[in-house]
Symmetry: C2
Subunit: 391 residues, 2 copies
């Protein structure tokens, strides 16, 4: 186990009707009476969530300025707009209501407001975050784990670069999670969310750090929970219990408790960012394409770990001919599981143009000058091979 420093102070308010607490929680954590209220499209208005949030804010005498229309694969433009609004109105708190895109936008605004330079500096790695406005989240999509994560992913329209920022300073102050709010997520998006959650766990699972028994087992527990409950929510979208399991697992998957003492990989996420940067494919669908291909490319690096994954997560029987066969059967079952949820598992199925492979590999490695991944360090040539395995 590696030495580690772990702190996650996000308050989670989880369960039925919990959105009614949003006003009192904003009051508790905000240093200004006026806040920025970020959300996406019309879905929170159609569902009535918008009205309930506004009611709770008003009951607590919170004034708000709206920043709406945040899109999936959230863009830099609204981030800059939000920063401007906050500065002009002396706003010290940002509330996001919706999916990961609204929350990631709120986080980006939070670090941008107190910073003199261009907020993109944090995403491009040019500058380091020193402070952030507090952010509160009402999350309606279990997927990105952003509700308790140290992550924000933003797309720069100038060149369509999608980059992630990681710093504990952007963990939300609170996150409100009501599984009922996820009942209306369409089947495909539900499946994408499940794949994203599994990917967050698997990025942590595949590590070179030895003697990580507890966190291995916690990761396996979380993966099995998704594997058990995702098929239920796909069939029964209003099954509260299964929705709750998926939703809470989505948070645990990415709140960094599962990666304490480990060094995760994250190559698949970085490669996927190029897929969704290129084509606007849903992040979870992109991961369902990339992860199995990445596994097929790297499994020989640590057969034992892939055998453990196959046996403990997928119940692969030990009676196969060889450790390699067991490992490959685990990867096959993961792929079959993604397929069973209706997700693409190849570039073709995901409508990713094969002639963009080279360009995506270039972008992902800053024109072949960097590598991605920690479990196995992967360069441009490797990415080309992985994406060819994913054809």
């Amino acid at each position: 186990m590696e030495n580690f420093d772990f702190k996650n102070a996000t308050e989670i308010i989880f369960g039925r009707d919990t959105e009614k607490f949003v006003g009192s929680k904003v009051k508790e954590y905000s240093k200004s009476k006026r806040i920025l209220f970020c959300y996406g499209g019309g879905s929170i208005k159609k569902s009535g969530l918008y009205d309930r949030v506004v009611k709770s804010l008003k009951e607590n005498e919170i004034e708000f300025i709206e920043l709406s229309g945040i899109k999936p694969n959230p863009r830099l433009e609204p981030v800059k707009e939000g920063i401007k609004i906050c500065r002009e109105n002396n706003i010290k708190f940002i509330l996001s209501v919706g999916g990961g895109s609204a929350a990631d936008t709120a986080k980006a605004i939070g670090v941008g407001v107190p910073y003199d330079g261009d907020v993109w500096d944090f995403y491009s790695g040019k500058a380091e975050v020193k402070e952030s406005l507090p952010v509160g989240v009402v999350i309606t999509l279990p997927a990105t784990g952003t509700e308790a994560s140290n992550s924000s992913v933003i797309m720069n329209e100038d060149g369509w670069y999608k980059k992630g920022l990681n710093t504990v300073l952007i963990r939300p102050a609170f996150s409100i999670m009501n599984p009922e709010l996820t009942f209306t997520i369409p089947v495909y998006q539900t499946a994408c969310g499940a794949a994203d959650i599994m990917a967050h766990i698997m990025e942590r699972y595949f590590t070179n750090v030895k003697h990580v028994d507890l966190t291995d087992r916690l990761c396996e527990a979380a993966l099995r929970t998704v594997i058990n409950n995702a098929p239920i929510v796909l069939k029964e979208p209003k099954n509260y219990d299964a929705r709750a399991e998926i939703m809470w697992t989505g948070t645990i998957a990415h709140n960094d408790s599962l990666s304490t003492g480990r060094i995760g990989d994250w190559a698949s996420h970085k490669i996927e960012h190029e897929l969704s940067g290129e084509t606007d494919i849903a992040h979870g669908a992109g991961l369902a394409i990339v992860f199995p291909a990445w596994m097929k490319y790297v499994y020989k690096h640590d057969i034992n770990r892939f055998v453990q994954f196959a046996v403990r997560v997928w119940d692969v029987d030990l009676s196969y001919n060889s450790p390699e066969d067991i490992a490959l059967e685990g990867i096959r079952r993961l792929t079959a599981f993604f397929k069973s949820m209706g997700l693409p598992t190849s570039l073709k199925e995901g409508n990713i143009p094969e002639d963009k492979i080279e360009e995506m590999a270039d972008k992902c490695t800053d024109n072949d000058t960097n590598t991605v991944g920690q479990f196995v360090k992967i360069g441009k040539g490797d990415i080309v091979k992985i994406l060819n395995l994913a054809k």
Copy 2:
């Protein structure tokens, strides 16, 4: 799953040599330059830990007043002394170095200082905690989980009442955890710690709340980690990797992440408090006596849950004659595991006088006016029967 509110902001600094950060962490979290420094006996002086802590405090210009001699099953007297010292010296931060007793004492002092009445009011349930001084912990004994828990257990010498206080306000600001500091824990105390950790998980595991798939699996993962690693540390006290697994599992077991959305039982803990209140038996040893007896008494309340425990935690084969047989085999394996670590599993082996059963059952239920436990509510008569099963 039940609705829940979860927040655990304790910063964990985990790994080799991490005690060197104590001074800078105190500086970060303390509002006074002078602090109270609580510890137990001479073991931290013998090991050199005391000197390393003092060095780090001095390097960070932290002044300290010492409160030493804190004993296992920590008493109320030093708590009151600590409160007096803090008030007289305008101290705003308490550091504990050592095992759970020093930390629980520090937590009690923390809530006592800003309170006008008798600090015991919080433990007896007469008053509710409104605020606490921040507490920092360097933990040397993986067992109580106090390093990130909302708990403090104190013994009132006046009547030998041992009571627990639970409030999120007493979670430590930070906890420093170096598994190397646990190398010198004697075998018996190591085993007691492992039993305590398992008990914290099992108290959470046995719940009437349905659909708690993720947290069930996380609990099972944590239990299996102890079951795998405790025998290693008993044989190889200086095995860093296994010590690290036990130590981190001890924290996860009691930081409340495993009980999100669940209602735990806690009858066994309350019964055990009477055993250690009566005889000063180590808490973990008392739990090894009480828990199997409690299980034998209550398993019929939810056979399925005990079957799940037997199969998933203890690998009991499903081919037994009946669910009841599977459940009982799980309890038998737990008992055998405690025995294999050299722990007592009966009152006799623990030198608990049988003629005190009645008195302990009385104390535990406030003279037969209260029940304990949530999974099954247990009165005085039940406790007498459980302790008789433990003879």
